[in-house]
Amino acid sequence: MSSYYESEDLKKFAGIGEHAKELADDFFRYYGSVTGTDGALSKREKALIALAVSHALKCPYCIDAYTTQCLETGSNPEQMMEAVHVAAAMQAGITLVHSVQMQNHLRKMVL
């Protein structure tokens, strides 16, 4: 049975260059220099951020890739789980802070 998000498909990521090679090359160069190097943030810190973003944006490819990357850069399961909680808390906060908009509008709607 075919389905979306086959884990084997992650290997085909480089295939985004088909029909748009220069743009893909630009992207991968940028992606590599942002995520694959120690800079003002270490690769370990970047991997934890990426893991959190992977969950927030619900990308199974990225969750697999950055779970491995976190392990290979020395993070432990507690740190990884905490990073996911940061993503979850941010999403909850983002949802809740929008209630200010709801309340603003509510006040306009109430005599």
Partner: protein, 337 residues
């Protein structure tokens, strides 16, 4: 249940990887005699390349030990004896082997799994609590596997309760001076991943281990060696069962590092099996890939000739990709960090 050694498929042809890159890796020296004295172990680790366990009975004969000592005595070029197993302390001739090698002026390293101090011999029930002062008296370099500074990963790989016992055993080593600045008694730890991924950079992990073990348990050690899991024996079985073998091999292949290849440990040591056969490394030993001379004849300690062994062609196979991936891997940790 013992696991049958499985060699890598030709799909991951290490010799071809070297040929394609124009890399030649002859032996450079034989400065270390690594001796696997027994497959008996008090633990049953999930990744163990030796397939060691409490039920194994293979052990080096007294004649084999004597021959190793004779080789050490006759060859000043071989400055180090690295004793491994199994849990090498469970060999009945272990203490005398250490003492005689020390008397010959050799640097003696013992691959000590920590828990054997508390578990003792699983077959004879002999206590091994004397080991810390014994090691200290002989100024043995102690090298101990501790897959992580937390219980979860360590017990997952080495068995339930191993982490807590390891902390107690480290405490006993610290108490006799191991890992303490100025004592000259060296305690190095070994990290290896608990699954099919590469080790994190050695220096960063060492700092983590030192900080966490000191803060949580008051323990100290000297250095951390990161090692990559070799795709052989029990770990290979896990990879096969979980359908991750090809992905792991492709990861190792993609991470091939010529600098790590140049520093592979087989260029500087020979590995001796319990039966006296010689191998290029402990992994080849478990795959029964004998070291051979230029004429193709297997090498043994019983007809050892230094120049013949030094001139041997090192025998590589797919698993060697484990030693050349990323920052490299050896019994002394990363080779290209």
């Amino acid at each position: 249940m013992q696991v049958k050694a499985v060699r890598e498929s030709s799909k991951y042809d290490f010799d071809e990887v070297l040929r394609r890159r124009g890399i030649d890796l002859p032996p450079l020296a034989i400065d270390t005699l690594q001796v696997n004295v027994t497959k008996l172990c008090n633990q049953v680790c999930r990744h163990c390349h030796v397939d060691a366990s409490p039920s194994r009975t293979e052990k080096m004969s007294p004649e084999g030990i004597a021959r190793c000592l004779e080789i050490l005595e006759r060859h000043p070029q071989i400055t180090k004896l690295d004793i491994t197993g199994g849990a090498p302390e469970l060999h009945p001739g272990f203490d005398a082997f250490v003492e005689r090698a020390v008397a010959l002026g050799k640097q003696v390293m013992v691959r000590h799994n920590l828990t054997v101090q508390l578990d003792g011999n699983p077959q004879t029930k002999e206590s091994k609590e004397y080991l810390p002062p014994f090691f200290a008296k002989n100024r043995v370099e102690v090298i101990s596997s501790l897959p992580y500074y937390q219980e979860f990963f360590t017990d997952a790989q080495r068995g339930s309760g191993v982490f807590r016992k390891s902390m107690e055993a480290m405490k006993r080593l610290n108490e006799v001076g191991y890992g303490i600045d100025g004592s000259g008694l060296v305690l190095n730890l070994v990290y290896n991943p608990v699954g099919p991924y590469l080790p994190a950079p050695q220096a960063g992990l060492e700092a983590d281990y030192k900080r966490e073990l000191k803060a949580k348990f008051g323990l100290v050690f000297n250095g951390l060696f990161t090692m990559t899991n070799m795709p052989i024996n029990r770990f290979r079985l896990h990879l096969d069962k979980s359908g991750q073998y090809d992905a792991y091999m492709e990861k190792l292949l993609a991470a091939f590092n010529p600098a790590a290849a140049a520093s592979v440990m087989c260029r500087n040591l020979i590995s001796v099996g319990y039966d006296g056969r010689i191998y290029d490394c402990d992994f080849n030993q478990m795959l029964e890939i004998d070291a051979i001379d230029r004429a193709g004849r297997p090498l043994t300690i019983f007809d050892f000739a230094f120049e013949r062994a030094l001139a041997r062609p090192i025998r590589f196979d797919g698993h060697c990709l484990g030693c050349t991936a990323g920052a490299g891997s050896s019994c002394g940790g990363a080779t290209a960090a």
